[in-house]
């Protein structure tokens, strides 16, 4: 191979304008923005969150007070969505319950991700015996019946909001741990991880600063979807009567009104619709993120 010394191609590009820096997250957002259903989902989710945050101060009827005749159908009083079996305003219940439901959904999802990512990251990064032990622990949690285990946790402690979120987090982190582990196993063999090692990076930096950001995309999708499943889980627990007696949530509204479902279908329908819309919006966003992160999958 005999080649005369060619100067590096500085000259070749010198005059040309440079492209704008495009970070990988920005690319994802650009893909996401073109996805109509995902944008609709994001809009619905945004609206629900805004209503939950500022709604109670705009619509000041208390969700706990008896304000009208019990079991009034929607549209027959000043209370738009009617009243439940105790004569409480359903609309006020929805607006206030949203806060609780979404708070539980988010905090349970955060807990799920925290536990799952930590365990999965350590298992995947270190491998060997650590991996073995952590994965056996994960399998132990995986084979427990979720709902039953969560009920036991909630009943052992008190059914407060925090305990319910913790119970949901404890039973649902396993799949996140497995996914994180798989991503770590894949990424830790990449050359840029070796390169970081060769410039003196320690394990902590490799795990949290190098591998985790690159493993994040699929984890973000899982995190988004796990908010939805946490909300459904909370609804399930409330339906079975395991809800914070001091907090109105959508699931609890359904649980409370369940005995009267034949006389007043609206008592369970409206909170049901609220849960459905929220989870649907979250799923749309999650799917949109998934498509944006893995553009190749979308072609199928």
């Amino acid at each position: 191979m005999s080649v005369t010394d060619t100067t590096p191609p500085v000259a070749a590009t010198a005059g040309k304008p440079l492209p704008k820096p495009v970070s990988p997250s920005r690319q994802v957002w650009q893909m996401f923005r073109q996805n109509h259903s995902a944008m609709i989902g994001l809009f619905i989710l945004f609206a629900i969150i805004v209503i939950s945050i500022i709604g109670p101060s705009l619509y000041t009827v208390s969700p706990r007070d008896m304000v009208w005749m019990p079991l009034t159908p929607p549209g027959q009083s000043e209370y738009l969505l009617g009243t439940d079996y105790l004569g409480r305003d359903l609309l006020a219940g929805l607006i206030n319950g949203g806060r609780v439901t979404i708070t539980i959904g988010f905090s349970a999802a955060v807990l799920t991700i925290l536990i799952g990512v930590t365990i999965g990251a350590l298992a995947g990064f270190f491998g060997g015996r650590i991996d073995n032990v952590l994965m056996r622990v994960t399998e132990f949690f995986q084979v427990l019946p979720n709902l039953l285990f969560a009920m036991v946790v909630v009943m052992l402690f008190s059914p407060s909001l925090i305990n319910i979120a913790i119970a949901i987090g404890i039973v649902s982190w396993t799949s996140t741990a497995r996914l994180t582990r798989a991503e770590f196993l894949k990424i830790r063999e990449m050359d840029y991880v070796k390169a970081e090692r060769s410039i003196g990076a320690g394990n902590a930096r490799l795990i949290w600063k190098v591998i985790l950001p690159n493993a994040a995309p699929p984890l973000i999708v899982v995190a988004a979807l796990s908010i939805g499943s946490a909300i459904l889980f909370e609804a399930g627990l409330s339906f079975l009567g395991l809800s914070d007696p001091n907090a109105m949530s959508w699931g609890r509204m359904i649980g409370d009104n369940r005995p009267y479902i034949l006389d007043s279908s609206w008592g369970v329908t409206f909170p049901g619709i609220a849960i459905f819309l929220t989870v649907l919006a979250i799923s749309l966003v999650g799917d949109g993120l998934n498509d944006a992160i893995n553009p190749k999958l979308r072609q199928r």
Partner: protein, 332 residues
């Protein structure tokens, strides 16, 4: 040897357990010296252990046995902060420029990172050094803000080289740095590496399966086969007077304009398994000159300690010499 070598490896072994009590003898006792300012080429086909050996030298794999001396200091068992400081002097350029840059970091941050991690200079000095490095490898300082996916393969490899240069190392391990690039870009990168060596007095441990590439850049060459060095010598010695039949086979596999690919010998089959290497000479099974002795005893490297050495019983036999003459008489 009076002068201290940039890198000195003696009897390096890297074995990987693969379960069931089996062990892959990826690198099985190799020794070499890289004097300061010398580009040392380590060549061999896939599976010969050349990359594993290089990674062990950069302490990215653990050596099973043997010693690695960097500028006279034994770094074989350093760890923690001592190893981090030693890494200033030995840096790595990786094979695949699409895989060796963190996709979530900007080019400037990638090149600055070694200085950040080793605490070299003030933030301002580091930033200035990044600008300087970008110029050195032929990139524009404004490209610092871009992400790896916005560069071409050649440009990415330049970033990889800039990162390796950041700590002003004495030795750079180049693990097939051009094999993932187009031929035209290969030449650019090789010329860049050659220029950097001359300007900065660098030493290279250059891994390649492509003798043409090695011939272009390296002063000293070692040929590896199945975890062992079968021949070692200066570039002119290896190319003008190859002694080992395996070296001859590799050289005759380099296509030339004049001779095409039909000069000399052609290898058949695959190397034996590194899990249970054969007795005797490891190349015997594929060697057209192999005799009973080759299958029973292991040849060791012999010859002038500072010059060309070969591990072959038959290197000086007339048959082998005849092939060598045929091979080297074709104008290169």
């Amino acid at each position: 040897m009076s002068e201290i070598s940039a890198l000195s490896v003696s009897d390096l072994k890297v074995h990987f357990p693969v379960g069931g009590g089996k062990v892959v003898h990826a690198v099985d006792g190799i020794s070499f010296d890289i004097p300061a300012g010398v580009a040392f080429g380590l060549v061999g086909e896939s599976g010969s252990g050349k990359t594993t050996a290089a990674m062990a030298c950069a302490r990215l794999n653990d050596a099973t046995d043997g010693t690695i001396r960097l500028g006279g200091d034994d770094i074989t068992h350093l760890d923690g902060d001592q190893m981090r400081q030693a890494r200033r002097d030995i840096q790595v350029v990786f094979q695949d420029p699409y895989a060796s840059l963190n996709p979530r970091e900007r080019a400037g941050a990638i090149v600055r990172r070694p200085m950040d991690l080793m605490g070299i200079g003030t933030p301002k000095e580091r930033e200035d050094r990044v600008d300087e490095l970008f110029a050195t490898v032929g990139l524009r300082a404004e490209q610092k803000a871009l992400f790896p996916h916005q560069f071409s393969g050649g440009q990415r490899q330049r970033i990889g080289i800039a990162r390796a240069l950041a700590t002003r190392p004495k030795l750079i391990v180049c693990d097939e740095p051009v094999s993932a690039l187009d031929v035209a870009i290969q030449a650019q990168i090789l010329n860049l590496l050659g220029r950097l060596k001359a300007e900065l007095g660098l030493s290279y441990l250059f891994i390649s399966h492509d003798l043409g590439v090695v011939q272009h850049l390296c002063d000293k060459i070692a040929v590896m086969y199945l975890g062992q060095i079968v021949e070692i010598g200066s570039r002119s010695a290896i190319f003008r007077r190859p002694m080992h039949p395996y070296t001859m086979a590799l050289i005759s596999a380099v296509p030339t304009l004049e001779a095409g690919m039909d000069a000399g010998m052609r290898l058949k089959g695959d190397p034996p398994s590194p899990i249970s290497p054969p007795e005797g000479c490891r190349f015997a099974g594929r060697c057209q000159f192999a005799q009973d002795r080759c299958r029973q005893q292991s040849p060791v490297l012999s010859g002038d300690p500072d010059g060309q050495r070969v591990a072959c019983f038959r290197a000086r036999d007339p048959e082998v010499a005849a092939l060598r003459d045929k091979l080297t008489s074709t104008p290169a």
